[in-house]
Every structure is written in structure tokens, then in C-alpha cells.
Symmetry: D5
Subunit: 126 residues, 10 copies
């Protein structure tokens, strides 16, 4: 079994995330952002990976500002990171920025060698 | 974190909503209206936003009259309001007008910068 | 709030409904009829309405005969009746004719003024 | 209400069904066969009926051999039988041949007079 | 009823499977690999079979390496094995290699004689 | 071979058609109206027929007013007329009302007894 | 190369075809009938074949009566005949019955052994 | 027949259009812009209209700048104008701004009263 | 530029092809066989390739027998050959076996590294 | 009107392109490569663009090697270039490398501000 170094948060990326006040903090409502154009690089082959990210959450006090989310995700464009890790990393970073009631990040990655992969990670209780 | 002023109900819009008697008040049945052509304006960029609203509810004594619902929603055409807020605002206004057993408002907004957003807010128990 | 007269059953229509013996009365199985071509008239505008009806049920002793169901539904062709009412009326008439364990009538009506509506009413426990 | 004679099993058809040993009897796994080209005859009009059958089951000791299933179903080609009855009959015959933990037979029949019907019958607990 | 020899694990195939460390072992997240181009041979007719495999799991300490999964599945290309058996065999081999919290293997096989089959087998609790 | 009486224009229906001035008479541009909810009655069985009409034309001096087109087509709701004839009749009436450069009427009628029919008739040169 | 006996017209089938007068013989318009539920038998294996037939024509004096077309096509239900031959046979029979300006018969047959076939034969000039 | 005032170009709107140099003026290549969110107002009812515009052209010396095209089209948001006229008006304005080899504007407008309309106007030879 | 050895016909494969007499040699009709499950091996990487082949032709005296076509195509299962070459090779072999009026072979190959390829080669005049 | 600098070929990119011998130079056959994951950067906003490229050609003596095509296209990943220019640039580079009989490059770019664009450029005669 191969060893892979632990995935650490990149403070530079996290600082890109901005939030705004949730105007309806007393209601548990669902927010879903679908990102159709996520791309990063495979750390093993150096080849680009492409995927669709779906970020769903129930906010507490803060909502994610959309333009800042776009810049944060674009910061992965030339970074080498595996499917499993990038999905969990984004969940960790967003949970830290928003402290939501519940959050789920789903990554659907494009076909490689006749296979395509989906990773779904969540935080808190829905 | 940015501050945004609280979203207040607009009495002029709410007065557009008309209702009619529920002819089957003893049966808990589901009514779903799908509005394919909702549009408002982004308060940050001044650019138009487009979306599909799905309004589902179980009526108590009153049902929403469809033509009045259309006029009420058209009143947002040139108003600047965020996705999260417009969805919750419409839920609040309709709950006040109908006093339903249960209601859900879902807004599916069109792609902006490679992202599209869905907001789902509900009132009462299904 | 407008007043609408209560919707009464039309005995002439109900007499069109014929049934046959359920050959498997001891098994709770599901029967679904999808009617692709339902049409009636809007009582307010006089304009024709179009819809798809889905009638699902678990029979006790009787099943609905399909040709008679078709004639019963065609009897609404030139009648003025609201979406909410026609869906509930059909449920009431079929429950009276079949006395089923469970029944649901779903009406999906076509687009009017950029909106389309679905009404789902049920009887008994599934 | 019309009377219909009880639907009896046809031993000639049942003898067409062959089985093979379930190689994984200790695991409760799901087997689904979708039959796209089922046809029988309407006993009332003599007109051919067409449908899609979906046979799902959790095996105990025996699995159905696919070629024999095909021949068994083809034996209905020129037989007059109602939708509700043929679906339940096939369930009874397969349950007798396989003695499964659970089985469901779904028949989706093609459009007749603007209506299409689906019948879903099951045996045992999933 | 026909007898079929028990399906034994092929150690040569299993040795093709490689794993890597799960970087987020404390979070129960879902990994799904969809294999669009699986092919083996029917042991009865010698004809090739084609299918789509969907492998879903919640990892404990180990994740499956994708390239090794591809080679492992290609090793079935010229092997004669029934649908029911190949699906269960792959589940057994992957469970042995990964020791996951939960795993499901779904095989959707292509049309043969107007029928197509789906087999779904799982291990552990989701 | 059966004899069918010639199909005559109904002056009452034709009078429903209204037109407006073509603002761009010097440009040969294409106008297409798709009517999703056309219904008439089969003259042989008395059963309702349903269809989708597509009316395409290149205007000379006059364009068809949409609301009047809707009323004209609704006048067929309870009239008995064959597919082939209603399609040609509508073409004749519209050609008389508009005197276009070119016009085509396509009627796609719904399934009856496992068959569905499309009739395409045109006037002038495209 | 195998020899196959010439395909002869079956006068019994042809007599099932009925026609009616074309009410618009001076206009060259297109009539298309799509038959979703055609079935015959493979003369080699005795297995049923299924297909979708599309019959398109420009009538001279006569149009095909739809119910008679249905009965004519049902007469192939238990007959053994190859794809290529049944398509051409139907074209020959319909040309004889209608003497059209132009006619095309397209047969799209269902998957057998991973292959599906389409045969397109025509008469006259479009 | 109703009279409608001639549609005049609005110089304010036209000034919004910006162009850039065609870098490949010697090659006749095709540029297609699909605008998914066009909206204007019906001059008769005051109700909003929605549509999809497809603008295709072969450039001579100038190409249309996309952001300016968006602002130009948004200027119709609260203007009352018929489908036929807005499509031709946009064609005229763009032809004046670009002087292309060939241009086509297609407007596909959403359903009103069960009808939806498409207008296709072009300039020059393709 | 790399050199690749010329692609020679394999007489063993060609002998698998069988034909039958065209029963309608005087009519130029179209025969299309769609093969959904073609697979060969990439000569460079040794990895399996998958594709959909569409073989269309107008026969002279001979038609291809379907079962023999299936066996002929299965003979490529473990052979290393490029997309461009396998498509042209199959065209050459079938032209030699059938001597058709016209023939086209289209190969649509599955995604590799984010690209998928289609090759279309033809013989004679349609 | 804005001025944009002429688009020059980048010799570094072109050197990435490799070719192989066309094994069937006497036959004019069609080769189509669809690239699902093309990405570059907008030179105006610095934002990433995404698109689908379809490269079709009839080869003379040389065919493009697929892996080298992939590397060539990946070299645009972080380059700022407009839709119109990147499509024409790729056509020029491939024509220089292959000297084909005919070639077409189509770029379908993703939605920006509610618009999406397609550019189609070609070389030679088909």
C-alpha cells in the first residue's frame, strides 16, 4: 500500500473566501451551488482533471459570497490533488469559513480510462 | 464579513395576492405551481437574474389565485434582491396570504460565471 | 377573498364508470393508469385546459374498467372546472365506484401565462 | 359489475421455467431482469397488447435461467389475458419455481385510447 | 435444476488490486466509481457480454487505486462467468482488498434476446 | 373504396382569423407558430383526437394575429374531421387570410391503436 | 451463399387493406404513419422479432384507411420472414393498393445479439 | 386588418454596440452567439415575453464584442415590441454595426396560450 | 513522422462472412446494421478500445447474414489495430464479400483522455 | 472599434503535434476528434474559458496522433486568447502539420453572462 502525505489546508486559498450575513437565520433552508467548470491536475500523471462540484448547505449566521467562491475554486486550476482529497479539502475549508448547520460537497469527475468517479463528503446533520 | 440590510416585506407587492376558497378543506392534498419565467435584478451588479420558481403547498382554507400570483411575481422584475432573500421573501408573503398547513418555495437560478444556485425554503410540516 | 360554489358530484358522469372483479383480492398490488389527453375548460376564461392525469390505486374487490374510465373522463371535455376541483372530484367519484384500499389522483396541467400546475390528492393509506 | 373467471396457472407454461443454483445463497442481493418485448392479446377485443416487464428478486437457493424465462414469457404471445391478471400470474408462477426471499413483477403496458397502464405486484419482504 | 460449480476467487486477479491511504479516515464519505466498459464472456454460449459496473463504498483505512482497478477488471475480458457470479465475485475481491465500512457493486448488463439484467450486491451497513 | 364528402371551408371559422401589417415586407423571413394543444373529434368513432400543429410561413403583406389564430383553432374542438382533411383545411383558410409567399402546416397526431400519424401540406415556394 | 425462395405477395393479407378518397388530390402533401408495435417471427430461429415501421407517402387518388392498415400489419404476427423481405413486401402491397406518387417504408428492428437493423425501401420520386 | 406603426431604429440602443477587429478577415468562418435570457414586453397586453436568441454571422472586418451585445439586448427588457419586429430590429441594428458577409437572427419565444413562436430573419448570402 | 506497417486483410476473418440472396435486386434500398458492442485493442498501449459501428449499404445481389457478421466482428476482440485502420479494413472486407452498389462504415469510438473519435469511410456512389 | 494585436502561431505549441502515415491515402474518408475538455483564459478578464472542440478532416498523407493532439491542446490551458482567435489558430496549426484535403474546427464555448458562443472555421473543399 502506497503512502500519501496528509492533505493540509492552504491558508492562501482559504483567505479568498468571503461571506455575507444570513438574512433568515431562524429558518433552516437549503442553499445549493452547482459549479460546472471545476478543474485541477492529477498529482500522479500531471494531466488535467475536470469535474462538476455541487455544494449544498444549511447556513447558520453566514452565507458564502458567490464571486469569492469562484475565485477560491479557480485557485485549484494548476494544483496537483486527488479526487478524494480535493472534495474533502473543499468541505473542510468551507465549514471553517461558514460554520454551517450542515454541508455536503459532491464532486463528479470526468471519464478517465473508461471510468468516472464521484466523491460525496458531508459535515453535520441535515 | 459584509453587512446587508434586513429584507423587509413590501406591502404594495403583497396586496397583489388574491385567494379563493379551498373547496376540499378536509383533505390534505398537494398543490404545486411551477413558474418558468421569474426574473429580478442582482443588487450588486445591476445585471438581470433569471430563475424557475416552484411553489408547493397544502392549503388550509385558502388557495392562491393564479393570475394574482403571476402579477405578484412580475413585481420583482426590476427589483434588486439576492437569490437567498427573494426565495425567503416570497415564502413569507405567501404564508401570510394563505396561512397554509405546509409550504415550500424552491428557486433555481440560471448560470452566472459557471455556477448556478438553488435555494429551497419551507414553512410548517408536511 | 372570492367565494366559489361547492363542487358537487355529477351523477350522470359517475354512472359512466364500470368495474370488474379483482382476481387477486388477497394481494395488495398497485395499479396505475396514466391518461395523456385530459381536457376541460377554465370556468373563469372559458379557455380550454389540458393535462395529464395519473390514477394510482390498490384495489379491494373491484378494478376500474379502462374503456368506461375513458368515457367518464371525456365527459369533462366541455365542462368549466378549476384544476384543484377537477382533481379532487375525480378522486371522490372513483373512490365511490371502487372502494379501494388506497387511491391517488395526480393532475399535471399545461402552461398558462408561464406557470404550470400539478395537483395531487389521495384517499386511504398506502 | 362484470364477472371474470378466476385465472388459473397453466402447468404447460410453468414447466418451461428452468433454474440454476444460487452461488451466493448467504448474501441477500438483488437480481433485476427487464424484458423489453412482452406481448399478449386483449381477451375483450382480440387486439395485441405490448409491454415492458421488470422482474426483480432476492434469491434463496435458486436463480431463474434467462433463456427459459424468455421461452416462458413468449408462451403468452397469442393468449388472451388482462394486464392485471398477466402480471399477477407471472409473479405466482415465478414464486412457485424459485421460492425467493422477495420478488416484484412490474408490467408497463403501451398506450391504448390515450391511456397507458402499469401494474406492480410483489411477494415477500424486501 | 442444473448444478454449477462454486465460484472461487482467482488470486492472480486479486493481486492486481492496489490501494492507497485514506487521507480522511475519520469522515464517513462516499466514493463511487462507474466503469462504462466492462466485458466478459458467457460461459454457456461463449459469446461476449458487456456491462456497466458501479462500485460504491465508504472507506475505512484504504482506498482503491483507479489504474489497478482498471487492470483487475480487464482481467475478466476473456473469462467465462455468469452475470450473478461476476458481480458477487468483484464485491468479494474488493472487500478483501479494502476492508471498507460499506460497499455495493452494481452490474448493468446489455440486452440479450430482448432482456437486460442488473445485479446489485452489497457488504456491510451504509 | 369508401366515398367521403368534399371538405368545404367553414366561413364562420375563417372570420375568426385576424391579421396585422407585416412591418418588414421587403425581407423574406420565416415565422413559425407551434400549437401544442390542438384537439378535434374523429368523424368515424366520435372519439377526441389530439395533435401538435406547426404553422410556418413567409409573409407578404400580412401576418396572423396570435390570439385570433388560437380562437380559430379552438373552433375545431368539437368538430368531426379526419387528420388529412383538417391539416389541408387549415392551410387553405390561412392562405386565404394571409396570401403568403410560402406556407406549411404540419399536424402531428397522437397514438391511436399503436399508430401515430403526421400530415404535412404546403403552399407556394420556399 | 445460401439460397432463399422468392418472397411472394400473400393475397389474403392484401385484401385486408382498405382505402378512402384523397380529398386534396391536386396538392402534393405528405402523410406519415408510424407503427410502434410491429412484430413478426424470424424464419431461421423461430424467435419473435419486434420493430417500428414508418410508412410515408404522397397520395394520388387514394389514402390508406388506418384501421385496415393495423389489421394488415397484425397479419404478420406469427409469420416467419426476414427484415429485408418484410419491409419490401409491405412497400409492394401498399403501392399496389394506393398507387401513390411516392412512398417509403422504413423498418427499425430491435437489438439481436448486440446488433440492430434498419431497412429503408421506396417507390417513385419525391 | 390592424395598423401598426413602423418600427424605427433606436439610436440609443445602437450606440451600445461595440466591435473589435476580425483577426482572420480572409477566411469565411461562422460565429454563433446563443442568448438564453432575452426578455421584452408584449405591446398589447403589457405582459413580459421571454425568448432565446441565436445570432449567427460571417464577419467581414468587424466582430461584435460580447459584453456590449449583452447590454444592447438588455435595453429591450422593459420595451413593448412584437416578436416579429424585435427579431428584425435586432438584425437591422447588428448589420449596421458590423456590415457582415451574412447574418441570421433567430428568436424562439416561450409558450403563450398553448402556442410558441419562432422568427428567423437573415441578411446577405451564406 | 512515424511509419506504420500497411494493414493487410486477414483471410481467416473474411472467411467468417456469409451472405444470402437479395430478394429485391431491382430496387435500390438501404440496409443499416448498428453494432453496439464492438471492441478491439489499442496496438500502442495494449488497452481495450470500445466502439459503435454503423454499417450501411445498398445491395446488388448479396446481403450480409447477420450472425456471420457478428462472428466476423468478434474476431477483432483481441487484435491490436488503430481506429482509422479497423474502420477501413472492415469496409474493404465487406465490399469484397458483397460487391454492393454503395457502402459506408462508421466507427464511433469511446472517450480516451477526454477525446473521442469517429471514422467514416465509404465505397461507391449513393 | 478596439484594436487587437494579430494572432501569431506559437512554434513551441506546433512542435508538440505528431503525425502518422495514412494507411488508406487513396480513399477520401472522414476523421472526427471531439475534445470534451478544452480550456483557456479570457485575455480581457483573466477568467478561465471552457469549451468542446470538434476537429474533422479528410487526410492526405498524414493523420494526427491523438496523444500529441491532447498535449498540443493542453498547452492553451493558461494562455489568454479570444474564442474567435483560438479556433482559427488551431485550424492553422493543424493544417500546417497535416496538409489535409479538408479540415474544420468547431469550438463550442460555455455560458458567460447568459450567452454561449460557437465558432466554426474550415480549410479546403469537402
Amino acid at each position: 500500500m502506497k503512502k500519501i502525505n496528509p492533505i493540509k489546508t492552504d491558508p492562501g486559498k482559504v483567505r479568498l473566501l468571503e461571506t455575507f450575513d444570513n438574512s433568515f437565520p431562524d429558518r433552516k433552508y437549503l442553499i445549493i451551488h452547482r459549479v460546472n467548470e471545476f478543474t485541477s491536475v492529477c498529482p500522479k500523471t500531471g494531466q488535467p482533471d475536470f469535474g462538476i462540484l455541487t455544494i449544498s448547505y444549511i447556513a447558520k449566521k453566514k452565507c458564502i459570497e458567490l464571486k469569492s467562491l469562484k475565485y477560491y475554486l479557480q485557485a485549484f486550476r494548476n494544483e496537483g490533488i486527488f479526487y478524494e482529497n480535493v472534495t474533502n479539502r473543499i468541505l473542510d475549508d468551507l465549514v471553517k469559513a461558514l460554520n454551517p448547520v450542515w454541508m455536503e460537497v459532491k464532486g463528479e469527475y470526468s471519464v478517465r480510462g473508461g471510468l468516472n468517479s464521484t466523491i460525496i463528503a458531508s459535515f453535520g446533520k441535515k
